[in-house]
Amino acid sequence: MDVLYFAWVRERIGLPREKVQTEAATVTDLVEELIAREPRYAAAFADLSALRVAVDQQLADFDAPLAGVREVAFFPPMTGG
């Protein structure tokens, strides 16, 4: 699965995207796996209320299932316009 990071999430984790081998059932499960890896992930995911997630390029909730998903992206609230 491709995992993408944008804005300060990208800065804290230190890379814009990576391949992740995971059996995580939901986004929350994936976040927990990432947090367990290294402190920089824990720092990025410290406050989930400050984060948004897209699953296969659609905005989603953290309890969204990951079966069949190819791409998950984490980022702060958007500031377009």
Partner: protein, 147 residues
């Protein structure tokens, strides 16, 4: 319907003129243009805009389609830049065409409210003191509640 996500500047006047010229049967055209503010009291060196290639385009197309359907528009246009912009530069624009003014205004505000909080763009302000990600505003999230 046209959606454009690009780093290059665009010509607001030409876009409005072309959009207007293409809208037969529509009595009302509204455009919104967003500009990097140039404030003497808080000098900005640049505004950097990051986005999510692929998702951005499909999110904007989805918003434009929803606006066209909901407000019975004849046409809708969204142009949004990314990359590094200087103060005074145009960031983005939307334009809407409808038979009557209320729908054209409502549709433009609808597009702007969704662009602010639901399109995958992130702004960073570069000043002499450093670089800061622009925080999302509660009022922008609240503005979505009316639609």
């Amino acid at each position: 319907m046209r959606v454009s996500v690009a780093e290059a500047p665009f010509d607001v006047g030409r876009e409005v003129a072309e959009f207007s010229a293409g809208c037969s049967g529509m009595g009302a055209i509204v455009s919104f243009t967003g500009i990097v503010r140039d404030l003497p009291e808080a000098p900005l060196e640049a505004m950097e805009i990051e986005h999510y290639p692929g998702m951005t385009e499909s999110a904007l197309e989805d918003m434009a389609r929803r606006a066209i359907e909901r407000f019975s528009l004849g046409d809708a246009l969204i142009i949004h830049r990314h990359g590094r912009l200087a103060p005074g530069e145009t960031i983005m624009m939307v334009a809407t065409a409808a038979p009557h003014r209320k729908d054209a205004f409502d549709a433009a505000e609808f597009l702007m409210d969704f662009l602010k909080s639901r399109a995958p763009f992130w702004k960073r302000e570069i000043t002499a003191g450093g670089a800061d990600w622009v925080a999302a505003k509660d009022e922008d999230e609240d503005a979505l509640a009316r639609w």
